[in-house]
Symmetry: C2
Subunit: 495 residues, 2 copies
């Protein structure tokens, strides 16, 4: 048996362990009773240890060397081998004791954060957060050595293979150049029109769920291969033949849960469309967080938060909630739910100001990883940034640097993917519409098949065959740029 073929067996089993762990996480977030938490953590820790032992087994390293010397691999096999090497490098770069110390420090800090945020207690969290940052710096340094790049670049690479801070600097500088003005223009345009009335609830959960499922089916979600459930924080997980998405319902506002469902459905369609011939292999997995986020934002922000989609969906919404009156007209729903409103909280931010929240976090976390910013100085730096970038005064840490769980959870280098995703979504949707002018008219009829067909051919079905840059050039003709996103925002918000 060739070394390459043995590696396919190895990574198939590694994938099964990851998928099993994924289901254990899904269960914990959706249906697990509270008392099961400790036992679940133990089960997951064991799966992680076994995964680490398998991927760090010296025999696997020897197979990688041997396979890279073998001739005759096809292009997908070669790409698969490249991805295996990348995963192996990430897994082996950090010593096991550091992995375990980091895992425990993050668990402690994330648990403490849940209490610290409502109590606005940054001082209480600071020592734990400093411990996490110290360990993340060590891990980043170890990965930087293995990848021959800067420490922050090594963290980016975990979430978004090939993404480098130098590229992000260019993109974020451009965004910083035009977004504040664009937000002002949008606010002025809004102020010039009467405020659109919002549909009034209550909106029963059962009706929200039924409507969400109806729209998911219209978008091509197949319930023989996936589920919709409820959880505190919406997410998408599972495997391509069993994709699990969640949302969170609020009976006083149906649109947040519904747009959340459409967002997660974008993730789900990507997972479901990954190349069937490469199930369970690294090359058959999603390309990275930036592309994954682009697929959710493409569906939610580009396709569904549009006049066309609302022409199709508004009557279904009205019917679902027995609505009546002008609030339920498509144009009004469009105006009511496409608005700019600068605020302190990232997860509540609109499409225009969201990247500014990410820019702030990007600058701060880069400085923290590079050793230019310590935890004690974080609240001040946060307040300065919010004032400079959004003109807002931060009243307290709860609505400032304590608002996200990412850093307490050790996730440094993750935030940029949200904005990379937004830029990527605009550029890909643009290319899709140009390639098939029937895509947008079909969406206005509730028919997502043309969009899905183009995405399957150009994004979903490529898995991790191409590097992200190459995927973008093949799909859109150009590397990632800010221009399509800018054009999209100007068309939508300055009109």
């Amino acid at each position: 048996m060739s070394a390459y073929y043995q590696l396919e067996m190895d990574f198939m089993r590694l994938g099964h362990l990851e998928d099993a762990a994924g289901l254990l996480h899904w269960d914990a977030a959706t249906v697990m009773p509270a008392g099961g938490a400790d036992a679940r953590a133990d089960q997951l820790a064991t799966l992680n240890v076994l995964h680490h032992q398998m991927i760090c087994d010296p025999r696997l390293a020897a197979r990688l060397d041997a396979a890279e010397a073998e001739a005759g691999l096809g292009p997908w096999q070669a790409a698969n081998l490249r991805e295996m090497r990348r995963l192996w490098r990430h897994a082996t770069a950090v010593p096991l004791d550091l992995v375990e110390a980091l895992s425990k420090a993050c668990s402690r800090c994330e648990m403490a954060w849940r209490a610290a945020r409502p109590a606005n207690d940054f001082a209480g969290l600071a020592p734990l957060l400093a411990e996490v940052l110290g360990l993340v710096r060590q891990a980043a340094a170890a990965k930087a050595a293995a990848f021959d790049c800067a420490p922050y670049d090594a963290l980016l690479d975990e979430h978004d293979p090939g993404l480098r801070a130098a590229d992000l600097d260019t993109l974020f500088d451009e965004l910083a150049g035009f977004l504040p003005g664009l937000a002002e223009g949008a606010l002025a345009a809004q102020a010039a029109r009467p405020a659109p009335p919002r549909p009034e609830g209550p909106f029963p959960v059962a009706s929200q769920r039924a409507l969400a499922k109806r729209l998911m089916v219209a978008m091509g979600f197949d319930f023989d291969y996936g589920r919709l459930d409820a959880s505190d924080h919406p997410f998408c997980s599972g495997v391509p033949d069993d994709v699990r998405i969640t949302t969170r319902y609020d009976e006083s506002d149906f649109m947040t849960a519904l747009m959340g469902v459409l967002h997660e459905t974008g993730h789900a369609l990507y997972d479901r469309g990954l190349p069937g011939d490469w199930r369970g292999q690294p090359v058959g997995r999603a390309r990275g967080m930036g592309i994954h986020e682009s697929q959710s934002l493409l569906v939610e922000m580009q396709a569904c938060r549009s006049r066309g989609f609302l022409k199709f969906a508004a009557p279904l919404m009205r019917e679902a909630f027995d609505g009546a009156g002008p609030a339920w007209e498509p144009e009004n729903l469009y105006r009511a739910y496409v608005r700019v409103a600068p605020g302190l909280i990232r997860v509540d931010a609109d499409e225009v100001t969201y990247p500014i929240h990410v820019l702030l976090r990007y600058r701060l976390e880069r400085a923290m990883i590079d050793g230019r910013l310590e935890i004690a100085d974080l609240p001040g730096a946060w307040a300065d940034g919010m004032r400079d970038l959004l003109g807002l005064t931060v009243p307290d840490d709860a609505d400032g640097c304590l608002q996200d769980s990412h850093w307490p959870d050790g996730a440094f280098g993750y935030f940029p993917s949200y904005t990379v995703g937004a830029l990527t979504a605009a550029q890909i949707f643009d290319a899709a519409r140009q390639a098939d002018p029937g895509i947008e008219p079909a969406i206005a009829r509730g028919d997502f098949a043309p969009l899905r067909a183009w995405l399957t051919a150009n994004i979903y079905g490529k898995g991790s065959f191409l590097a992200t840059d190459d995927l973008m050039v093949e799909a859109t003709g150009r590397p990632l740029e800010t221009a399509p996103f800018r054009a999209h925002l100007e068309a939508r918000y300055l009109d």
Copy 2:
């Protein structure tokens, strides 16, 4: 680190793998979309392979030898080590290629059985069933060599450690001696009374679920540490701090689902009450299938299918379904749901004739394992047995030897635990009532705390510390007998 302590680490991880696999099975039976089946089977196969590799690792065998030579183990540690050796012996007795061949043959045969039963196609299933039997015979022979016992005894030991056919012969011969006469007497007593009317439905699923949960809470089930869900076949799984039970609802009959819930709650209370200091270790697990089944039957048949319990539960049932009239009186409900009705189907059988169904299967499967009965002769042997034991003519194989999935699934040696459980339940409930005369009056008030306290002290909290026989002698003063079961049936059915 002592060899014993290293073994605790080994078996803790083995336990986590088993628990993770258990959750994957639960998910597949309750919420998984159909399309996820293949991916789930792959995940489970990998967890099984890793489990087998871990337990068959020569280093683990060396630790067992070393630990058995170590001095100074406490009694629970010694019992834990004894259980580790037993699990190791079962896992290593059968070569991996035979394990895999058996697993695949069982999957194929069980899938084929799902179609063969409704089609009454024994001839179509026979070759697959013969293949399973051939492989089970090989596995039983390998285990018999490892355990120095007869092949069928080795299969019994998998499900019920220490149980031997010689003991079963005694018990089943006694049952065969008095059950047919007892059934006749019960039928005569029933015929002498007017037939009790049954409550009339429909019984909405939501009301059934709410009632079931209310009674579960009364019995001490804590929903912070467990769940109730629906599945095609009711079962109990999970871990002590997260016990998952299921039932199957029928809107024309609420009692079947409810009694199923009470049965599974008995399993759940046992799991939940296992010794907390030994979570995840072999000695902290349930003693065996016979004891496990005894705990479900104790709750369902001894405690809940009683006049006392129905005095408490009848008003709740009536309220749950807005019932009215004499059908809802406690005495009528008792009469309506405690009846003897000999029939062809085991899962529909009453308490008196159920052991006769098991006796038939016990005799047949023993003959199959010993080579005295071949698959081709099974339908005839089945028909003969049903005529001799229950006086019934078997019209077709669908209601005969095709009715159960156990043999297609490779589960030979499992059936006896149902009847061992029934006998054990009667004997344990008897001992509990004698030890605490307040148990039965409390149940009639819906208070299960006294029963639970006695079971926790004498059964639940013992885990696998004692051998089953010793557990019975300590808890009831005697080894397992048929007399308490007989007395229970005579009191209930000949009155």
